[in-house]
Amino acid sequence: MTVLLPDSLDRACAQLADHPEAHVLAGGTDLMVEVNFGHRRPEAVLSLARVPELKGWGRDGDTLVLGAGVTYTELCDPAIAELAPALAQAARTVGSPQIRNAGTIGGNLGTGSPAGDTLPVLAALDATVELVSVTGRRTLPLAEYCIGPKRTARDATEIIASVSVPVARGPQEYLKVGPRNAMVISVAGLAAVADIEGRRVAVGLGSVGPVPLRAPEAEAWVVDRIDWSAGRLVDPADATEFGSLVAAAARPIDDHRATADYRRHCVSVLARRALTRMFAA
């Protein structure tokens, strides 16, 4: 096994072009588990630990650009949380302080697990993923980036450079169900984001499909149930119907963490709760 330690993004791309078999290492919270247990013995690992270009974040007008190396702890920082509240909420549900200090948003995207907690938020926000390689840069909408369970559109020679989301235009929520408040992989996760001026609500679902899902019918239905100038539901009871419509968009399976039926139930409760928190002030 070879460990590559590039100290710039250009060098990282060049080394990955020479070693397309290399596993790209971000925070290590997924890869090292597999290595420790002997489930994976990569021939080469390309560590992004020393690539400074991936570590920053910034605001470009109405867009928040997050370097792939931004950690979950950094996502919880008030400066970012103010611009992307649901992303901060999702980050805070990940693992423990130790895991949040190591794991990164780029790593969450790189692994592409259906249970990745930032992914439903990125889906709801119509995020774009920036990929770089020696041949250039491209940006993909999240819906084109996630193509299956732990399968992404990233080419073996590409490095995830950043992810961009719109700055919050209204209330946002991320909620998840798991056996305890820390160190859990989501049984079901739900992000809801509102654009008050644009008069729309977007929903992202995690752990209830092969990729992060949206709930277009529920999103369309709820528009007329909100008094947008007051920022309130016209009838608070509508949150229950919203929950049912969102649950209908889930495509869960039975597995060792939960049954499909329970996951669908979770989604309906989380959607109702999220909408109520956003619009029942």
Binding site: G95, S96, Q98, A102
Partner: protein
């Protein structure tokens, strides 16, 4: 660069030369088996239990999830640094005084997590204490005595009470 088979790690202010290691070894394994620093404990090897917690460049992490060869050039701090002359740190003493040490296996990781918390926030609330130790499993104490230990440490350091 490509990490050579042999590499140096800066641990507790001392450069250690790692020779003849497999390049895929975790920092936890290298600390314990190659550098003679067994303070960080090896239990789950998947970041679940926190017993291997160390600081890497001032960040509390699970050393089992750090690829040792990728930690070249960082400053690593382990629990051994807290009591270099054998005298316990105030947090360690608070653990002893509060009865937060039973079998002791989780203690080094919990002490590192509490040291990290108090370095960031000298007067945490109980909820903040619980969140700060949420990545450290203890199967003996039920955590009550651990939280008591943090109360003792905070009181002795600042005179304040954990709310």
């Amino acid at each position: 660069m490509t990490a050579p088979e042999d590499y140096d790690l800066l641990v507790n202010g001392t450069e250690h030369h790692v020779v003849g290691a497999w390049i895929g070894e975790s920092l936890l394994y290298v600390l314990r088996e190659r550098l003679g620093l067994p303070g960080a404990k090896n239990a789950c090897e998947q970041g679940e239990c926190g017993s291997c917690s160390v600081m890497v460049d001032d960040r509390l992490v699970c050393s089992c999830l750090v690829l040792a060869a990728s930690a070249v050039g960082t400053a690593i701090t382990t629990v051994e640094s807290l009591a270099p002359d054998g005298a316990l740190s105030d947090v360690q003493q608070a653990f002893v005084d509060a009865g937060a040490v039973q079998c002791g296996f989780c203690t080094p990781g919990l002490v590192m997590a509490v040291e990290d918390l108090l370095a960031r926030d000298a007067a945490p609330t109980e909820l903040e204490v619980r969140e700060a130790i949420s990545g450290n499993l203890c199967r003996c104490t039920g955590y009550g005595r651990v939280i008591d230990a943090v109360r003792v440490a905070v009181r002795r350091r600042t005179g304040a009470e954990v709310a």
